[in-house]
């Protein structure tokens, strides 16, 4: 399939999605929002993973972003859209600073410290109630765009497209070479002129910024932040599962994973209202056992074989 056709189809898909509000109801739209929000989180997690660093801290930067957005609006009266960018900035900067220490670590140790970071953010946020509203959190007078369905959807769609583009940049720029080398063999990487630490800090900050951005958007869309809600472990575990299910280290893996698992859990609960989450668990286990390359990996293999 040549480039022209491919880009044409992608364009068509994009148009279809952009036009979704005109032929789909509010429920599919909000479902799409949820899916795309988790999609971008999954992408950001995967982007860092391409350097071999496994992060359990998604919820941490997601929550920080959420608080940054809501608080900057409540106290600073800043325009909601701007607060979302501010959220990205905040999370990115924090990652940059923390990264200077944390990125000394590797593997299991890095993973667990990111996990701890998320937890520490939560505890700190809950212990400065005057600013954050403490355990009860803070609410916005109204959700972004006054809850206007179309606009909200387009905002999320824009973020999703942004995320996909960012991920593709990671895949095509020299970052790709740097991160892949680091993941494969750090010794070779640094002996081949790659400033390992620099590139890890870059990747960590950018992915954290993305997570902060999504957190900010989420908080603006649902109009509130709370420690239990904004730092919920779901925002770490579900994206993780989606990326794995769809296939890691490629842009379309997390995307497809998010769509499939997102729809699955939503449809499942219609047929198994009580305890459909068990099926969700089974899907993850099965996916890892039978699709180590993820859905996309599997399919691209078959495509390869055919052509």
């Amino acid at each position: 399939m040549n480039k022209a056709v491919k880009s044409l189809i992608l364009l068509a898909v994009l148009v279809l999605l952009a036009a979704l509000p005109f032929y789909a109801g509010a429920y599919p739209l909000s479902l799409a929002n949820t899916i795309m929000i988790f999609m971008v989180l999954a992408l950001s997690w995967d982007m860092l993973l391409r350097s071999g660093q496994l992060s359990f801290g998604i919820a941490g930067f997601f929550g920080v972003g959420g608080y940054a957005a809501v608080l900057s609006q409540v106290f600073g009266g800043i325009n909601p859209l701007l607060t979302i960018l501010l959220a990205a900035l905040t999370a990115g900067l924090m990652a940059l600073i923390l990264g200077l220490v944390v990125l000394q670590l590797r593997g299991l140790y890095f993973a667990i410290v990111t996990l701890a970071l998320a937890e520490i953010f939560r505890v700190i946020v809950t212990n400065i109630p005057d600013l954050t509203g403490g355990h009860e959190g803070t609410i916005l007078k109204s959700a972004i765009f006054a809850g206007h369905t179309y606009k909200t959807y387009w905002l999320v769609l824009a973020i999703a497209v942004g995320g996909i583009v960012a991920s593709e940049v990671f895949q095509r720029s020299r970052l790709y070479f740097a991160l892949t080398s680091i993941r494969n063999d750090e010794l070779v990487a640094k002996s081949s002129g790659i400033n390992v630490f620099k590139y890890l800090v870059i990747a960590f900050s950018i992915t954290a910024a993305i997570q902060g951005l999504v957190g900010g958007a989420y908080a603006q869309i649902y109009g509130f932040v709370s420690p239990e809600g904004s730092f919920s472990v779901n925002f770490t575990l579900l994206p993780l599962a989606m990326a794995v299910f769809g296939g890691m280290s490629r842009t379309w893996g997390p995307v497809v994973g998010a769509v499939l698992l997102g729809l699955a859990s939503e449809i499942l609960k219609l047929y198994i209202p009580y305890g459909h989450l068990i099926v969700y668990g089974v899907i993850i286990v099965a996916a890892i056992l039978f699709l180590p390359e993820g859905v996309v990996g599997l399919i691209s293999k078959h495509v390869l074989r055919r052509s």
Partner: protein
Amino acid sequence: MRGAEKKRSGDLMTVQWLNKRRLALAALYLGLAVILAWWRPYVLVEGVQRSCLYAMIALPMALILGVLGIINLAHGEFMMLGAYLAYWFNVRAGLDPLLAALPLLLVFFILGLATYVSTIKHVLAAEELIQLLLTFGLGLVISQMVNLIWTSQPRKVQLDYVSASAAVGGFSFGTFEFIYVGAAVLVLIGLLLFMKYTRTGQAATAVGQNPRGAALVGIDVDRTYLMVFSISVALVGAMGALFMTRHSIFPAVGGSFTLKSFCLVAMAGMGNLSGILWCSLILGLAENLVLSIRGYSGWADIIFFALIGLVIIIRSRQRQST
């Protein structure tokens, strides 16, 4: 193969600074103990009890990590399932949970076999995070299954002996939780002896240090993995019975113990069993100390994670210098 090298370097690491750390911990621990003994005796007593609860649950996880080189994120869920089965035995057959621990050993050994053969076996070669995700999925399945069967309603058996207490001078304290101390020490010694003197144990040690090497000298690596995993699951399942004598149980109760065990194992270092006990003691005592100061109990978690972070950063420095 990358896994193998990882593990070997991990062991070197622990060996290299084990003694240094041992001493440091011993000093810290003794210091705390002395101060506490006259200042707040109950912090000492209850801190030790709490520590050993952590330790007895974390030990099997450390064993799995040390030998198979994987972190079992379904660890706490196995514990939780054990607790529920003990509860069920108690309700159905009036079996005392402490006795239920014995049949549970068998039940969970078999469950361990099944789990290993059907899932773990197939991801041993895969990347670390694949293993983490698989076990995370397993955990989800277990907890949701329990939720379906017993609902999220917290349950707690009535046992008079769990609130047994003794008094020294003016200060009265619970005596029952000393069974956690017993259990932790028993499990630790048991495992150490097992690793040292049984064929499987020796094989496990060898495999843990270098699977390929072990295979070359004719050790059946797969079988060793199978045994070690099953034994660990059996242990943690039985621990569930001890756990639920004292705590309410509900489907999500295991999760936080997975995390705590995970952190303890990371602190103690790859496959370092006795390190678990030391780290637990520091953590448990520190936590109880904070809890004992009025108005600051909220910060107990920070202490926990700060300690984790600190120790891990130190460890990474250690590693870089070599």
